[in-house]
């Protein structure tokens, strides 16, 4: 059983040399915007992040789903794969309008 998704293809691009032999997890740190403020999806929360190249520049971006209005934000990575820089975001658009998966 091999993990071969394209999400993983992006992941492998990020870390071609990574191996996983039951690592432990350190206490976490928060992802911040370039201005030092927390990256957050706002009211009601339920942030759901994926780190993968959305815009085709071969640098992974942060794609974050949210509960309110069921929206999805694309945080373009202005930095590098391992030193990401997030300055702003755009809502994911589909069918010519902001895409939503309504929570109700």
């Amino acid at each position: 059983m091999k993990r071969t998704s394209l999400t993983v293809a992006a992941l492998l691009l990020v870390a071609a040399t990574a191996t996983a032999q039951s690592p432990q997890l350190a206490d976490p740190f928060q992802v911040k915007m370039a201005d030092g403020s927390p990256l957050e999806v706002g009211e009601i929360g339920h942030s759901a992040p994926v780190y993968a190249d959305f815009d085709g520049d071969e640098i992974p971006d942060l794609i974050v789903g949210e509960f309110k209005h069921g929206a999805c934000r694309i945080y373009k990575n202005y930095g590098t794969a391992h030193n990401p820089v997030f300055k702003d975001f755009k809502f994911f658009v589909a069918g010519g309008k902001q895409a939503t998966i309504p929570p109700d």
Partner: protein, 310 residues
């Protein structure tokens, strides 16, 4: 989650699509879509699965949502070639399982019984069969966490835990161990840990050190009452707050160790009656407390749990 995205070329056309779990248990049938439907229905056209949504990329833009139904609430999905046949299967998780016999949350495999370019998914199969899951699972991903060549399951939970279900089976027949808690969450709404609840997880090597890390999203409602408290109101506030805490402790004790969804009607009625009695007893304190003082702020952050080898 509302929107819980995954970026994946689900239909093998070379373009990355977005698929997502969903929150509600009442998803609309597909309508007005320009992409094709990923059918999550049985041979009679009846929905058989968790909700998930599908945005197909066409020439650099995305088509409108195809939303496919239904049976569990607050679902998440992640793509993986589980059986090594070259197409994408789905690992799904659900926080609330409408089938009461399934316990608290579950992780399913939905095998792609179509093809790489025409995916169709079989009925969900519970990968945690035989394990008693005592917490609600809010996201899951298949990943070989211990590097033994077998896909394990990693999961985020309602209370902010990150769990690892080690695959102790074989390449042909998976079998999952009781979960190892890689990170323990708050276990309550009292925010004992900086990160919140209802974790959505994603595995990647964030810092490029060769050890996989886990990115999570969360949900938390912060009590910000103290920030708005006027000093002249503090004596009244503290008196009410003590009673509200007493009320919370009594209610927690009432539900401790009980699985509401596995109770029969009589047991549920008795429990509800007991809770109502406590509620009435404390209403003179809880009502003014919540009306006059209680203030909250909800948010969802993104956290990096770095993988480390000890």
């Amino acid at each position: 989650m509302g929107f819980a995205p995954q970026l994946v070329d689900i239909n093998g056309d070379g373009l990355k699509d977005i698929i997502s779990g969903s929150y509600c248990g009442d998803a609309p049938q597909p309508e007005g879509h320009t992409g094709h439907i990923v059918p999550v229905k049985d041979e009679n056209g009846k929905p058989v699965s968790e909700i998930f949504a599908y945005y197909r990329q066409i020439d650099g833009t995305y088509a409108d949502r195809v939303h496919v139904a239904i049976s569990h609430i607050h679902s998440a999905c992640s793509p993986v070639d589980w059986d090594g046949d070259g197409d994408f299967d789905l690992i799904t998780a659900a926080r609330i399982v409408l089938d009461k016999s399934s316990g608290l949350g579950l992780i399913n495999l939905m095998e792609n019984i179509g093809s790489r370019t025409e995916p169709r998914f079989a009925r969900p199969m519970n990968l945690l069969e035989g394990l008693e899951i005592k917490t609600a699972i809010t996201s899951a991903e298949a990943f070989d966490w211990d590097g033994d060549g077998l896909l394990d399951l990693l999961a985020g939970t309602e209370w902010g835990d990150i769990l690892w279900f080690r695959n102790e089976g074989t390449a042909e027949a998976c079998r999952f161990a009781e979960p190892t808690v890689l990170k323990e969450g708050s276990k309550s709404s009292k925010a004992e840990k900086p990160w919140g609840n209802r974790l959505a997880i994603f595995v990647t090597d964030w810092d490029g050190d060769g050890v996989y890390d886990i990115i999570t999203g969360d949900a938390r409602t912060e009590d910000i009452t103290e920030k708005f408290l006027k000093e002249e109101d503090r004596p009244e506030y503290e008196q009410l707050k003590a009673k509200v805490d007493e009320y919370s402790s009594k209610v927690s004790a009432l539900y401790e160790g009980k699985n509401y969804r596995r109770m029969n009607a009589k047991e549920r009625a008795e429990l509800t009656k007991a809770a109502q009695k406590i509620r009435e007893e404390y209403r003179p304190y809880t009502t003014p407390y919540y009306r006059k003082f209680y203030k909250t702020r909800s948010h969802g952050y993104v956290w990096i749990f770095r993988g480390i080898r000890e």
